[in-house]
C-alpha cells in the first residue's frame, strides 16, 4: 500500500506552505536595505550561523526564556514545538529505516502507521514505537495544558491571555485536532493489528475490544490529514506565521540587523514573528494597575499585521519597555511602537485574499504631511566656554530641589561647568519624538546641538533620564553624555566629593528611560550605597516598574496615572524605607504625589550628606569667640 486519497489534504497544505515560506523569505530579503542584505549574507555564511542555529534550538524549540520565567507555560510551548519537531524527525527516521524504501515522501513519515500497520511488534521495532508513543504523549500533555489555558489562563501561571480572532481560532482548533486525531487513528489501527506501544497499543486494544477498529481508523486518518492541511493553509493568515518568520528573524538579528528608526522589511519580519503569546500583557502595568487590556504589544503587532489603524493603540503606552525585556521572541517592541506613532493614522481598507497572503511592503516614508518649521522663534547665542555642561531639563526645572542639589554638588566638586538652561532652556526633543513628531524634534535637537558645540564642552551632565536618552541616541555630538548619577559616582570615586554616611534606609526606583531605556542600572545604586543603606525591592533593574507619569503615554487620564503611581509606591515602601530614592525628576514628582514617605532624587540625598569644610571652620571660629577672657579667671 503506497498511496491513499486521504493524504491529499496534507500534501496540498505541506507543499503550499513550503513554497509560500520560500517566496515570502525572498520578498523579505529583497526588501532589506543594501547594507542589511550584506549583513545578512555575512551572518548566514559566517560566524553568526552557529549562534543562530543554537538560538533556534534553544528559543524556537525548547523555549528556554519562557521556561525560565514561567515553567508551566514554558513546558506547554516546549512540548508542542519541540515535541512536534521530534515527532517529525523520528518519524522520518522511522520511515527511512523501517519502510520499504529509503528517502520517502514526507507523507510516508507522517502517516507511517497507516502504511505499515504491522510495524512495531518485536525487538528494536517495538522499542522504536515506544519512543514514538512517548513523544506523542509528551505533545498531548502540552496540549492538555494549552486547552486548560484557553479556559483558565491562571492555571498555567498567566493572568491574562491574548484574545483571538476567528481565523486564529480556526487555526487553533485545527492545531489542537492534529494530535488527538493522530492518537486515535494510530490507536485504532494498532488495535486492529495488535501492534503499538504503551499509549497507542493499550488505547487501541481497549477500543478494539468493543469497536470495529479497522473501519473506524480510516475516518480518523482523514481527520488527521485534514487538520494538518487546514493548519498549513491558514498559517500565513494567522499568528502561527511566527513559526517560519522567527527563524528568519533569528538569522537577521544575529547578523546585526536592528530596527533603528526606519520602517521596512525588518519591521515586517518582527511584526510577523510575534506569536501573540500574551507574555507582554502580563508584564504591562497598564494591564495590572490601570485595567487597560487592549493596547499591549501583542495587539499592536496583530493590528499592524491586519493593516488596521493602530494609532490609538500605539499612543496608549507608557513606553516603559517592560514588554521588550519580557518578550520571549526578543522583538524590539518599543522601537516598533515609535515607528507606528510616527506613521500616524492609517486608512483601513479591506484587502483581497491575495493581498492578505502577500501584503504590500510597509511604506518607508511617513505618510504624515509635513508642516512649516515651528520653532523659528528660538535664537542662537554664544554660550560661555566651559568643560562641563549641566543641562537640567524641563522636568528638573519643575523640581527645583533637584536643580539646587546638583548645583551644590557641582560647586563642591570644583569642576568648571556651565548651567546651560539656567534661565529655562529648550526642550531636548524626546517628548516630541514620543508624540511621533520627529521632524519637529529635529529642530530642537539642532538648536541644542549648536549651543553645546559652541560651548566647547567635553561632557554634558543631565538630571533627566528623558534628556539623557535622547542626548545619547539622537544627538550626533562628540561629547560624553552623563546622567547625574554617573557623574556623581565619578566624582566620588576620584575623591573630589567627600560624603557622610546617613543612617537611612533607602529603596531605589529605576526610571524607565535610564534603566531599560539606556542600560544605566548600577551607577545610581552605587552612589546610594555610599550614603545610605540600600534595601532590595521585588522589582529591581530590568524588572523595575514605571512610575506612571511617563511622557510616553498620550492617552491615559490623570486618575489612571495616579493609580499606577500608588501601586508602584506600595511596592517600593513595603519594607518601610525612610526614603524612596529615584534618579528622575518626573518619577520623583509622580511618586511623591502618591505617598507620605519622603521621595528624593539621589542628588538630593548626596547633597545632604556632603562633608562641608566651611562648617568646621566656623565652629572653630565660634570656639574662639566663646573663650573666656583671661582676666575673668582671676
Amino acid at each position: 500500500m503506497q498511496f491513499d486519497p486521504f493524504i491529499i489534504p496534507f500534501n496540498i497544505g505541506l507543499y503550499f506552505i513550503l513554497i509560500y515560506v520560500v517566496v515570502r523569505s525572498v520578498r523579505w530579503f529583497s526588501g532589506l536595505s543594501r547594507a542589511n542584505k550584506l549583513r545578512l549574507q555575512r551572518g548566514f555564511f559566517g560566524k553568526a550561523f552557529g549562534q543562530s542555529i543554537k538560538e533556534i534550538f534553544l528559543e524556537s524549540l525548547i523555549h528556554r526564556k519562557i521556561l525560565k520565567s514561567n515553567p508551566r507555560l514554558g513546558y506547554m510551548h516546549m512540548s508542542l514545538a519541540f515535541g512536534w519537531f521530534l515527532l517529525i524527525l523520528f518519524g522520518t527516521i522511522e520511515a527511512d529505516v523501517f519502510g520499504a524504501h529509503h528517502l520517502n515522501a514526507p507523507y510516508k513519515a507522517i502517516f507511517f502507521k497507516f502504511f505499515y500497520p504491522e510495524h512495531g511488534r518485536l525487538g528494536f521495532e517495538a522499542l522504536y514505537s515506544f519512543l514514538m508513543d512517548l513523544i506523542l504523549a509528551f505533545i498531548l500533555s502540552g496540549l492538555v495544558l494549552a486547552i486548560i489555558k484557553r479556559f483558565s489562563s491562571k492555571a498555567v501561571g498567566m493572568k491574562k491571555t491574548t484574545k483571538l480572532r476567528i481565523l486564529d481560532k480556526i487555526a487553533l482548533t485545527s492545531l489542537w485536532l492534529i494530535f488527538p486525531s493522530r492518537l486515535l487513528a494510530e490507536s485504532l489501527t494498532s488495535g486492529a493489528y495488535g501492534t503499538g506501544s504503551f499509549l497507542t497499543g493499550s488505547l487501541g486494544s481497549i477500543l478494539a475490544s468493543f469497536l470495529p477498529a479497522n473501519e473506524l481508523a480510516y475516518p480518523f486518518w482523514w481527520l488527521y490529514s485534514l487538520s494538518l492541511g487546514t493548519f498549513f493553509i491558514l498559517l500565513p493568515l494567522t499568528r502561527y506565521m511566527h513559526i517560519p518568520t522567527e527563524l528568519f528573524l533569528i538569522f537577521a538579528r544575529n547578523s546585526g540587523i536592528t530596527t533603528g528608526d526606519q520602517p521596512g522589511a525588518f519591521k515586517e519580519i518582527q511584526v510577523y514573528s510575534c506569536s501573540s503569546c500574551g507574555i507582554c500583557i502580563d508584564a504591562c502595568q497598564l494591564n495590572f494597575s490601570a485595567g487597560i487590556t487592549n493596547i499591549q504589544s501583542a495587539y499592536l503587532m496583530k493590528g499592524i499585521r491586519n493593516n488596521e489603524n493602530v494609532s490609538d493603540i500605539a499612543f496608549n503606552c507608557l513606553m516603559c519597555g517592560r514588554c521588550d525585556i519580557k518578550c520571549p521572541v526578543g522583538i524590539e517592541l518599543t522601537p516598533l511602537r515609535m515607528l507606528s506613532r510616527r506613521a500616524g493614522e492609517i486608512v483601513e481598507n479591506e484587502r483581497s485574499i491575495i493581498k492578505k497572503y502577500f501584503p504590500d511592503r510597509q511604506p518607508i516614508i511617513s505618510t504624515r504631511p509635513a508642516s512649516d518649521p515651528s520653532y523659528g522663534f528660538l535664537k542662537q547665542y554664544e554660550p560661555e566656554k566651559t568643560d562641563i555642561i549641566y543641562f537640567a531639563g524641563c522636568m528638573t526645572h519643575l523640581t527645583p530641589s533637584i536643580k539646587n542639589s546638583m548645583i551644590k554638588i557641582l560647586e563642591a566638586s570644583g569642576v568648571r561647568y556651565n548651567f546651560l538652561d539656567e534661565q529655562g532652556g529648550v526642550c531636548c526633543g524626546r517628548p516630541l519624538m514620543l508624540a511621533g513628531e520627529d521632524r519637529e524634534a529635529r529642530e530642537l535637537i539642532n538648536h541644542n546641538s549648536q549651543l553645546i558645540w559652541k560651548s566647547g564642552a567635553h561632557t554634558i551632565v543631565t538630571s533627566c533620564p528623558i534628556c539623557y536618552k535622547v542626548f545619547k541616541e539622537s544627538y550626533y555630538l562628540d561629547v560624553e553624555v552623563l546622567h547625574h548619577s554617573q557623574f556623581i559616582k565619578n566624582i566620588i570615586e576620584d575623591g573630589s566629593l567627600k560624603l557622610n554616611f546617613l543612617r537611612r534606609k533607602v529603596t531605589y526606583h529605576t526610571p524607565c528611560d535610564l534603566g531599560r531605556g539606556s542600560g544605566v542600572y548600577n551607577e545610581p545604586k552605587d552612589v546610594l550605597k555610599y550614603v545610605a543603606r540600600l534595601q532590595e525591592t521585588r522589582f529591581e533593574d530590568e524588572n523595575s516598574l514605571c512610575c506612571g507619569g511617563s511622557l510616553g503615554n498620550m492617552k491615559i487620564s490623570s486618575r489612571q496615572k495616579s493609580k499606577i503611581a500608588h501601586d508602584v509606591v506600595a511596592e517600593l515602601t513595603k519594607d518601610n524605607p525612610d526614603i524612596v530614592a529615584t534618579s528622575c525628576p518626573l518619577c520623583k514628582k509622580t511618586l511623591s504625589a502618591a505617598t507620605t514617605t519622603k521621595v528624593a532624587d539621589i542628588c538630593e540625598i548626596v547633597a545632604d550628606s556632603i562633608v562641608n569644610p566651611d562648617i568646621k571652620k566656623k565652629l572653630t571660629e565660634a570656639d574662639w569667640s566663646f573663650k573666656v577672657p583671661a582676666e575673668l579667671h582671676d
Partner: protein
C-alpha cells in the same frame, strides 16, 4: 445695522455666529479632560515655550473654546510637548494630548479652513 454713534472694538468682539467650534469639539470628543479646564494659567506659567514667546496654553484653550481658530492655528505649533503643563495642572487636564489633538484637527480641517 443701526448706527448708535459708537462701535465695538474688533478685538473685543466674540462673534459666535461666525466662529466655529469644530476644533474644540474634535478635541473634547477625544480628550474629555479638555472640558474641565478652569483657565487658571498654571500651564502658561510653567511653559518652556512661554519663556521665549508669548505662547500661552491658557490663551489657546480660551481661543479654541470660543472658536477663534485662526489665532490658535498660528501658535499651536510652537509647543514643544515637554509636558510640564500636564504635571502642574490642578485639574488633571491631559494638556499634551490636547495640543496634539489640536494639531491633528488643524491638519485634518486644513481644507475647509477660512
Amino acid at each position: 445695522m443701526e448706527n448708535f454713534g459708537f462701535s465695538i472694538l474688533k478685538e473685543r468682539h466674540i462673534d459666535f455666529n461666525t466662529n466655529s467650534r469644530h476644533i474644540a469639539d474634535y478635541i473634547s470628543e477625544r480628550e474629555p479632560s479638555f472640558r474641565i479646564c478652569i483657565e487658571c494659567g498654571c500651564c502658561a506659567a510653567t511653559c518652556t515655550t512661554g519663556n521665549f514667546t508669548s505662547f500661552s496654553l491658557r490663551e489657546l484653550q480660551i481661543l479654541l473654546r470660543r472658536g477663534e481658530n485662526d489665532k490658535a492655528r498660528e501658535n499651536i505649533n510652537k509647543c514643544m510637548l515637554c509636558g510640564k503643563c500636564t504635571l502642574v495642572c490642578p485639574r488633571g487636564v491631559n494638556t499634551r494630548n490636547v495640543v496634539t489633538l489640536a494639531r491633528q484637527a488643524f491638519q485634518k480641517f486644513k481644507a475647509d479652513a477660512v
